[in-house]
Amino acid sequence: MPDVLLSDTIAMELGAQEPWPQPIKLYQPYEVEQILLPDNANCLAVQAYLKMCGLEFQIEPRSNAEYMSPSGRVPFIQCGAFLVSEFDPIVSFISSKGSSLSGELGATDKADMRAYISLVNNVLVNAEQYVCWVDQATLISVTKPRHGSVYPWPLNHLLNWQKQNQITKKLNVLGWYNKSLDEVFGEVKNCCTALAERLEGKTYFFGDEPTELDALVYGHIHALTTTPFLPSVCGMSATIGRFQQLIEHCRLVNTLYFKKESDISVGQVYLHDTMSQDSFCNSTGSLESLFPLTEDSFAMLKANEKNDSLEETCHLDLKEFVIG
């Protein structure tokens, strides 16, 4: 018998002995010009979870966050001597310190919650990866420029190629690579139906208090509905947009924990992220590679003219992220 559970227990014991180091530092890629859809969703989920727990944290954007992380995936938090990466380990690490959102739940509810977390982690994350790395239009016009934006010339192509290989291999093994875009939307729809059924008109998934599932679902729904790059992503956000309950849930978490006006609305394409990109690019003027992308997406999205108010929100967002 390999000593799996023993090593888990030891890690937990060690974690529990340490006092709370304040504040927690959350490392992630640059939100404006670098981060990709799946990573963005995960980062948002972790941020939401930390906020729901009422913990102070600082966002530390790093261009090489992916390579700093112990598991090679973002985001990760630094908490005293510990580096913990990804949503699930972060949640269990924080609960070993005594603040958990799901401690009150019964055994059955806890098992159900794990099952739904698996559902989101599999279906939504794989769909996001698929759109980013398999869908050719998005891959060429969004993913590659963004993922390679922080590396110098030959390296950006090399790393893009490496990452693409890694992701395609994984999607192939999981049986997602050979799906068509419509099949992927179908999977997303099934997942959203299941989540909406579980929500059943309640405020949160399990009773009146948020749990880690709420944070995770918020992260993904928010990222998917506010990142309109190309028709493939728009198709996905339109699919999600049909589930009014999920949109409401997302909006609620947004206003309660992120203290900003939600810009999610159904049937309209959201310009939040594109805007922030635009404003960022204008202010720095250093990322030429992104210009064609923004223009493309603007054309695609028939950008409306009231940019000013949105830009303001975006600047506020940026400030908030820096302050935490």
């Binding site: 018998m1 390999p2 000593d3 799996v4 559970l5 090593s7 888990d8 598991s71 090679g72 055994a107 059955t108 806890k110 098992a111 159900d112 794990r114 099952a115 739904y116 698996s118 559902l119 982690n121 599999n122 279906v123 890694q166 291999k169 994984k170 192939n172 093994v173 099934n190 997942c191 139906t193 299941a194 989540l195 059924e197 579980r198 059943e200």
Partner: protein
Amino acid sequence: MNESFQLDVWKGDWGLPSVDLKCLNILVYAKFSGVPLKINPTNNPFRTPNGALPVLRCGSETLDSVKDITAFFRKKNYTADFSLTPKQCAEVVAYDTMLKEKIYPALQYVWWVDVKNYNEFIQPWYAKALPFPLNFFYPGKFERQARNMMESLYPTEGEISAIENAVYSEAQKCLTLLSTRLGEREYFFGPHPTSLDAIIYSYLAPLLKAPLPNPALQNHLKACTNLVKFVTRISQKYFPDICQEYERKKAEESVRKMRRDSENEFPHKKRNQFLAGVFATVAMVGYALSTGIVEVTRNDDRMLEGPPDYMLEDHTRDE
């Protein structure tokens, strides 16, 4: 309707109707929902549309994925989920993905990547089950697929033992969750079996029943007694023939083995006992005689006395 459903599957063993997870899922689901199936244990993934069993043939339709087949059954009005609420259906979807995420990699690991299991048990089993030229090809292919899966799921881990630990720990946590979720109930949603039970059974039963040489994960499952009972209950209720036949065969096997063992230990038991008896008797009698505890009196004198008389008489007569 005079349709007949034909299902090509991997053959069964160890008291299960099929050793393969997906085939098992369909077989159990069909039993739950009462679909009349004609089962062909072909063991031949070569003559299938996508190189994978199970394959359902019904008239002109040929389906080969669990999802399509269950959807097809539902279209034909065979379903096990009629009593579920939409919320419970959502749970079925959620648990299905959880099992696929947590337990499937572990099963693949136990079956194909674990060297001891693969060499001593899995590879010989499949080599025997598959028809002649294919048996050189498929076990290796499945092994490569499983290794590929481990590499792509844990791209940053170089050591196979680290991957093993991670995979087993995920699976164990998941088994524990399932065990608490089931509690003391008969099935996951009360007294009637549903498609969720079919799914969970198909993941757990092979792991529980296969006589694996390296039973690390199996032992954890055996420790979750309610899950063991759950699997046994479904086996006995829905596949009583296969189950009993296997039990009988196993009992016979063990009796034969015990007999053979004792024979092996003392190959000429009867002869040795007899010889030992003879030897002991001879030794004791010899000792008794030599020390004079028992004396044999000779009556030779009288015997010797007799004939001379006759001889004398004869002599006198002659004379």
